[in-house]
Symmetry: C2
């Protein structure tokens, strides 16, 4: 039993009144697939709406490493279908097949499900199978990895920013290089995802070399490993001093723009108030 002060109970009421899709009600006989974002992984940053979707799912599908982030009590009574890294298509197909069979399925992503995650692939499979009328489809947003990293660094975003993945598994490296140069030249704060894999350790060095053509050596670089997870590590270096050995696939990098500075032990990108107002 939960008390009336209960957040989850409160959330259910909101969902029932505000968003019928969220009730987890399958009285229509239709199955559903909800692609949710866990946020960085800490329960304290998991949106109640995503928690509610898990609590009301028949099946929870996701990469093993992400499913592990979900508290065991929350998974009690759910079928859990988890697959290893690199099995995205298999994982999403399982989720869609289960939803077609009439079940309420939750596809788990870390961060936000629409940022380098599974919302798109699930949609592609629904489109391919002409299943939009067969299955309820919903995306429940989450706190993205790069804003979680930014919060731990201070205020490095604040102004216009670009997000670039260095993974060239699905994207030609030339396109990634063009985006790095364009973002650096136009003075965007740059968030880097998938910065360094065992198979492509050299991509990060190439990327930093491109950015250094446009930014001074002293430009701050935030290096955040496992934000809000066990083993969290937050460092601030510069384009000149950063050590690639501190970076792996779970790291998010945030490269400052031309006005980003180190402030206290944090990273600050002023938005421009001091040019206009007396602060």
């Amino acid at each position: 039993m939960r008390s009336s002060g209960d957040e989850t109970g409160k959330c259910k009421r909101n969902i029932n009144t505000q968003n019928q899709k969220c009730t987890g009600d399958s009285s229509s006989g239709k199955g559903s697939i909800r692609v949710i974002g866990l946020g960085p992984g800490d329960d304290c940053l998991l949106a109640p709406q995503a928690r509610y979707a898990i609590e009301n799912a028949d099946a929870v599908v996701g990469y093993t490493g992400y499913v592990k982030l979900i508290s065991k009590t929350l998974l009690e009574g759910r079928e859990v279908l988890s697959t290893g890294m690199m099995a995205e298509v298999e994982r999403c197909r399982k989720a869609v097949e289960s939803a077609v069979s009439g079940r309420n399925v939750v596809m788990v992503c870390s961060g936000d499900p629409g940022i380098y995650a599974m919302a798109g692939l699930v949609m592609e499979l629904l489109e391919k199978g002409k299943l939009f009328d067969e299955v309820k489809f919903e995306v429940i947003p989450g706190i993205p990895a790069f804003t979680a990293a930014a919060a731990l660094l201070g205020a490095p975003l604040m102004h216009d920013f670009a997000s670039i993945s260095l993974s060239d598994l699905l994207t030609p490296w030339e396109k990634i290089e063009k985006r790095l140069a364009a973002a650096a030249d136009a003075d965007f704060v740059i968030a880097i995802y998938n910065p360094r894999s065992k198979n492509r350790p050299e991509n990060l060095g190439k990327a930093i070399a491109i950015v250094r053509k446009y930014r001074v050596d002293s430009t701050p670089v935030g290096i955040v490993n496992k934000a809000y997870r066990d083993g969290q590590k937050v460092q601030i270096a510069t384009l000149e001093t950063m050590n690639e050995q501190d970076v792996d696939m779970q790291t998010v990098l945030i490269i400052g723009n031309s006005s980003t500075r180190i402030s206290g032990e944090m990273m600050l990108t002023p938005r421009g108030y001091s040019n206009k107002y007396d602060i």
Copy 2:
């Protein structure tokens, strides 16, 4: 009284063990300032950690329009200092002064506090006053407006993206134009914040004209007003068909990249799986 199943209670335990900064404990005698993100505004998308910060604050400071998004029960017993639009510096100064006086202050932002919000300005004031040792400072991330909009549109992000604000109050318009051209030329999905104000109604038209130099007329544009708030409106148009009258300062636009398509009634940017795998 709350039951043991209580999310907020659970969250407190997590916070106490994982992040001492989050306990709201001021036994050190120090005041604190926590800049939090409400997310889009729906309680169901408010992170428990942000809720907990409000529940344990002595004072809650924010723009009136955002403070209104917080449920009254949550604000009970807190001093609320809200100020109108355009009073950012005054608002942040109030928050800092209150924290210096030893109180636990929450500065409320919508979306994520590090994206076109107040985390940076609060840091600037703490830096200016040499207050980093006097006051505990923490940023609690939230679900950004553009990922909330993306979730309602389907999966329009998925690949590398850039975020650009069309407000030229603090940024020279020439810099904004350069960023629009760079992001469009490098084929980023583009999120547009502050697209159309009463004082600068022409900026949106200028911005779309720049993007159209690089993208075909049929490029999908997601137009999301008041995501997850009363009066929510979600539309998908194209660069050719979009109607500027549907856009105001509370709208977030998401302009697709060269491979974004309309799928069902949603917007889909494929990440590239179909080029590599049989889906």
